[in-house]
């Protein structure tokens, strides 16, 4: 029984681990912190997996647990963004079939997101992941109206950072 659950969890998580990596990239700025947060997310996912009934998609459920871990459970502060750390991030997302302009834009986007507060980071992340407002408000535990207001403000902040 436990073995079956474990196998299922590993296959579910392995397929969706990119979500966790993206969240780690948003909330941390160097490789060590990235792996630390990834590990904590893994622990939390596994701990709660027996309660996951499959009435929602694994990925939907994972967004919630992973974001909660990054916002409320993760110990280290990500306040200081050091230039060297940003290069770390850029290195991680470097790929051959990704053109130069896009790569530069993606780097700028990550840098801008790093300057947002934890809640705005979550909002922007869910926006970029194309999540509907219903899911965003349920994940964060606020009303849809509030989610919209907050989202617009977060987007404004992000735009100001990207194009001052």
């Amino acid at each position: 029984m436990q073995k079956d659950l474990e196998t299922k969890f590993l296959s579910d998580f392995e397929q969706n681990q990119n979500i966790a990596h993206k969240i780690c990239r948003i909330y941390t700025t160097n490789k060590d912190a990235h792996n630390d947060l990834f590990q904590e997310i893994t622990i939390q996912l596994w701990k709660n997996y027996p309660k996951f009934r499959g009435d929602s998609k694994f990925s939907t459920w994972m967004y919630r647990v992973a974001l909660n871990t990054a916002i409320s459970l993760y110990r280290k502060s990500t306040k200081r963004v050091r230039t060297q750390d940003i290069n770390d991030v850029a290195f991680k997302i470097k790929s051959n079939d990704y053109d130069d302009t896009e790569e530069r834009q993606l780097k700028a986007l990550y840098e801008a997101i790093h300057k947002l507060n934890d809640i705005d980071k979550a909002l922007i992340f869910l926006y970029l992941e194309d999540k509907p407002y219903k899911e965003i408000s349920e994940t964060l535990g606020i009303s849809s109206v509030n989610a919209r207001v907050k989202m617009n403000r977060a987007k404004e902040k992000l735009k100001n950072i990207l194009n001052p």
Binding site: V65, N68, Y74, Q105, L106, L109, D130, K159
Partner: protein, 204 residues
């Protein structure tokens, strides 16, 4: 939203993480020990209960009881100590119940609320203890004054009351400041995030 739409496309096109973890690595991570804030809150909470209650080991209770008898307050001390133990178990029980309810499957706001509530249970226990210490100091002082009333002139009386008051405030103040510092460091990020989320609810 034109600018962001463009960035959104870039985001969607970003390549997958290059250093992905294998199933074995994920397995190992899933079975490793958590170092989350919640775990620290639990450990520190338990430590606080233990430390506050082990303070009694440093006091020679027999000697203290003799002193209390001399002052005629042994009944007061006895009953308040029983009450203090009942209250301790109440707080411990509440602390454990609140801790158990913390779940990352909840929404962000509810999760933060539960973590803060758990932490507040310990804070309230510390507050209760400080209050208890203050009460004992006050009662002992009053009893002291009562037993030695005839030997004291009004100047000495005032001096005793004044110095006891200052000493009590000073001791409790220092403990409280230290505590606020610990509490602040642990929950600073969480409180800030909670306010950020809750701010919305008060606007609309």
């Amino acid at each position: 939203m034109d600018v962001l739409d463009n960035y959104k496309k870039v985001w969607e096109n970003q390549p997958e993480e290059v250093s992905k973890f294998s199933a074995l690595e994920i397995y190992k991570m899933a079975h490793s020990k958590s170092s989350s804030i919640v775990k620290w809150i639990f450990i520190i909470g338990i430590l606080e209960f233990v430390i506050l209650n082990s303070l009694y080991f440093f006091i020679d209770t027999k000697e203290a009881m003799k002193e209390y008898e001399k002052l005629g307050i042994e009944n007061f001390v006895f009953y308040t100590q029983i009450a203090a133990y009942i209250i301790l178990f109440y707080f411990l029980w509440m602390f454990y119940q609140n801790y158990k309810k913390i779940s990352t499957v909840d929404s962000t706001k509810i999760l933060m609320k539960k973590i803060i509530k758990t932490r507040k249970t310990v804070r309230n226990y510390v507050l209760f203890n400080l209050g208890y210490i203050a009460l004992v100091i006050i009662v002992v002082t009053i009893a002291n004054i009562n037993t030695n009333f005839d030997d004291l002139n009004s100047k000495q009386l005032l001096l005793i009351i004044f110095s006891t008051l200052i000493a009590t405030i000073l001791i409790l103040g220092i403990i409280w400041l230290f505590y606020q510092l610990l509490y602040g460091i642990l929950l600073r990020k969480l409180n800030k995030n909670y306010k950020e989320l809750a701010k919305l609810d008060s606007i609309n």
